[in-house]
């Protein structure tokens, strides 16, 4: 940290928040709010005279509130840069600090938040994690029994720079505990609170146990666990060392802690699975190894950065295996536990990786993107004709479209990721997506429904999830109806209502509208745009009198090949139960309405030509003779 502070090209801004992020990869503009410290950074030399003079004491959050700090404080002694801050909520304005600061004159109560805009090329998010508060679990009695402490409190208690100078004492009476229990998985691997495994707590429990054992050789330590996970280099060896040192490992998650009210000793009730019976051991102190949870303001930061969060609230990566450092927004990277829980080596590796990914952007003049971006036909956009619209901008998850009345909508190419939501939403066919134009889609639909359309199940699949699901169903040899015909679009947001009408107009037996599960969408909110449209379509078809099940909406992830095959088979069953004749009558009855609705699509440039072309296409395909030379 000190090295970073000295580096000529590194600026460290502490006590600063990010309020807004505008622009795109390589050209971000970031609004920073440097909060008022009431201490001038250019004058403060970190001597601490103000803190010594300050008469106010408040709980010290860095010491897990087990020690006090002054209202004039520095969050921890190793802070870089070493600047004091006045906590105005606690300050009584006695101005003793001003007196103590004397000629240095660093204290300035007139300071206000400083807001500034900075040009930024790439952003790395490394906001880390927070801790689960075990006081919501009544069974462990945290906050009620004084000698039940959390792992972070233990960390301060046995730290040589901590409030007790490394002397482990019981909060109830200040004596050294002789018997200590460590309970793992407090609030993690627990569906009631956090379903995930917090990754590093097993090693952390072992580390603390070994540390205590080295400090107090006659201490008796037990670790209660469900499973011990030591899957890193040298970790299993460390676990073995702990066992050889005489640390007791008890397999069994305690269900209850009770306290003796006179001695404040604790009784941990658990099953000892190896013995197969309930054991009740007495301890002087219990440490709860609490779960790691996302930072409380992660939601806020996620919306400022325009990125997505995975289930649970961690920042989502572009691809869980192949691009774990990149966020779905170009130019924003994720390092460390804010993306998913990591121990120190993995966090360091992720940090280096993020820095090198960001360096690629800073060192290049040009940035290559996928060519599937959206483009606006200026003459068709009604905004250019002075009308209020902006539907495309609302559909865009990246804020890549700017709409101003009197001018045609403008797509910022560098920001567009090619989900196609705007294209499908535009009511005037004024936007197209390169490589996924209406004409190209139409030709595909026509070709696949050229023969016996009433027997076909037409599937629209999103590139990232349901297409992968279909692929997995194939490679895993999950059998599904051979009547399925599918096409790929980038996102369910691109699945234009016109395509569905066209498929039904051509006489498709059933249509599947499939995409990602809501939190998995690779285009941030693309799935929501698609899902809203699917809901509207479902209502429309219901009103039209279409048999239920002919239009089906399913969210299928790339790992759900079994679900894909099940859905297709169910759709086949629905069609079978309707019967060919009934299906045919229904298709014919709905055809005029579908034709009316699909007509809008033919207005798009190139669609009529494509339609004329595709009318001949199936005939050529089927009559093509194979000349194998015989």
């Amino acid at each position: 940290m000190v090295d970073a502070a000295r580096h000529p090209k590194i600026k460290i801004k502490t006590y600063t928040t990010i309020d807004r992020v505008e622009g795109y990869v390589g050209n971000f503009e970031v609004q920073l709010r440097e909060k008022a410290r009431y201490v001038r950074a250019d004058k403060c030399n970190g001597c601490g005279a103000c803190a010594r003079a300050c008469p106010i004491e408040v709980p010290n959050a860095f010491e897990m509130n087990i020690a006090p700090r002054k209202a004039a404080y520095v969050s921890m002694s190793q802070s870089v840069p070493l600047l004091y801050t006045i906590d105005l909520e606690a300050c009584i304005h006695c101005y003793k600090c001003v007196e103590a600061c004397g000629e240095l004159d660093a204290i300035d109560f007139s300071q206000e938040d400083k807001v500034s805009w900075e040009d930024i090329g790439a952003i790395i998010t490394a906001t880390g994690f927070s801790h689960f508060d075990p006081s919501v679990m009544p069974e462990y009695g945290y906050n009620r029994f004084p000698n039940v402490i959390t792992a972070m409190e233990m960390e301060r208690l046995n730290n040589a720079a901590g409030p007790t100078v490394g002397d482990l004492i019981r909060p109830s009476d200040g004596t050294n505990p002789k018997r200590v229990a460590i309970i793992n998985c407090v609030g993690s691997r627990d569906k009631r609170y956090n379903p995930w495994c917090s990754n590093f707590c097993c090693m952390y429990a072992i580390k603390n146990a070994v540390l205590l054992k080295q400090m107090y050789p006659d201490i008796d330590i037990s670790i209660y666990y469900i499973d011990i996970r030591t899957s890193g280099k040298g970790y299993e060896e460390f676990y073995n060392r702990a066992r050889e040192m005489g640390i007791r490992f008890i397999q069994g998650r305690p269900g209850l802690i009770t306290e003796d009210e006179t001695t404040h000793n604790l009784f941990v009730h658990s099953e000892d699975m190896t013995l197969g019976k309930v054991v009740e051991h007495e301890y002087d102190m219990v440490m709860l190894n609490q779960a790691a949870v996302p930072q409380p303001d992660a939601d806020n930061l996620s919306s400022v950065l325009n990125t997505v969060q995975s289930p649970g609230g961690w920042f989502m990566e572009y691809h869980p295996k192949l691009r774990p450092i990149d966020s779905p927004t170009d130019g924003i990277f994720l390092a460390g536990a804010c993306q998913g829980l990591k121990d120190i080596p993995s966090s360091v590796a992720a940090g280096s990786a993020a820095a090198s990914r960001a360096g690629r952007i800073l060192h290049s003049d040009k940035w290559e993107i996928e060519p599937i971006i959206a483009q606006v036909w200026d003459d068709r956009c009604i905004s250019a004709q002075g009308k209020q619209c902006g539907i495309c901008a609302k559909a865009c998850p990246y804020g890549a479209i700017e709409v101003e009345v009197g001018k045609a909508a403008k797509v910022f190419t560098a920001k567009c990721h090619g989900c196609g939501g705007c294209v499908a939403e535009c009511p005037h066919n004024a936007i197209t997506q390169m490589h996924f134009t209406d004409a190209q889609m139409l030709v595909q639909i026509r070709a696949l429904l050229a023969e016996k359309p009433e027997e076909k199940i037409f599937a629209f699949r999103c590139h990232w999830c349901s297409y992968g699901g279909a692929d997995l169903a194939g490679t895993s040899h999950f059998e599904y109806s051979s009547n399925e015909r599918g096409i790929r679009v980038m996102c369910s947001a691109r699945m234009d209502a016109d395509f569905i009408y066209e498929a039904f107009r051509l006489g498709a037996g059933a249509v599947l509208y499939s995409g990602c599960h809501p939190p998995d969408c690779s285009y941030i909110t693309g799935q929501r745009v698609g899902a809203a449209r699917a809901e509207r379509l479902q209502k429309t078809f219901e009103k039209m009198g279409m048999s239920p099940g002919r239009f089906r909406v399913e969210w299928i992830s790339a790992s759900e090949g079994d679900k894909y095959s099940r859905v297709i088979n169910e759709m086949q069953k629905t069609m079978d139960s309707l019967g060919k004749d009934k299906l045919k009558t229904e298709i014919d009855a709905l055809k005029p309405e579908m034709e009316k609705r699909a007509r809008r699509m033919y207005d798009a440039p190139g669609v009529t030509e494509a339609s004329n072309f595709s009318d001949q296409l199936p005939i050529t395909l089927t009559t093509l003779k194979v000349d194998d030379g015989k």
């Binding site: 009544p138 069974e139 009695g141 998985c185 691997r189 627990d190 569906k191 009631r192 469900i226 499973d227 397999q251 069994g252 998650r253 305690p254 269900g255 209850l256 802690i257 009770t258 306290e259 003796d260 009210e261 006179t262 009784f267 009730h269 658990s270 099953e271 699975m273 197969g276 019976k277 309930v278």
Partner: protein, 292 residues
Amino acid sequence: MCYSCGTCVSTCMIQQKLEPEYNPRRLLRMVMTDIREEAFESPTTWLCSACDLCYPACPQEIHISGVIGAVKQLAVEAGYTSALETVVVDEALCSGCGICVMTCPYEAPHLIEKEVNGVMDRFSEVNAEKCMGCGMCVAACPIGAIARPGVSNEDVASQMRIKPQKENPSLVVFVCDWSLRVDEDMALLESYPENVRVIHIPCSGRIDPQMALMALDSGIDGVMVCGCAPGECHFKRGNYISTCKMSLLDRMFGQMELDGGRVRFVQIGTQDRGRIRHEVDNMLTALYREVA
């Protein structure tokens, strides 16, 4: 899906108080691996009273008593029977009023019609597979037609005799078998001198207000009923029933302008280690003041 953490076993009272072989985790394992016969014979299948102490504690949110109930159902279908001590209806006394049917948390008693001496009559019949032996129906029956061996009204009454001592007030403590989680607390209760008589009952819902009145009538100075904390009753709603009964009794004392403090109802939770000592001491002090 159970990952065998053992939380259910450590919260369960049965394994601690009744049957060391009782283990819901192992039963879930048998269910997952489809070991049928052993599961049907396991005491876990038959002893679970669906108190659901384990359900809110389970990190996988498994409704364990529901699973055990299903196993029990299968076991009954396969011809296995419960080994529990169940209640017995004396048909000579039963009037077929149906109060027991309404009281039972397990739907064990039901009314049947049977011909006796040429006349059709209604009787209560208890389904032995469903009865958990809590004795709530015994307390509820207005004519004493139901009995549970060991804790019938006569058995309880015979335990209530304390030789009156001049200086020391006498106290009867009805203690629910399940309410004191820690063995030390039970031992402590037993260690009081002769003037404190401890009577074990299967559930505080077994308490008949008449018992308390009988005790006071026979010259005993105070009655304490010790049950489980709300939501922790071993027999689903026994402590709720006893709460109603005791507050009714309290109101009755009020109407008769008698001192209601002579009958107390305390609810001890699973984490209230050592609380029973305070409760008994407090009551004794209060009684002592009164006697003096």
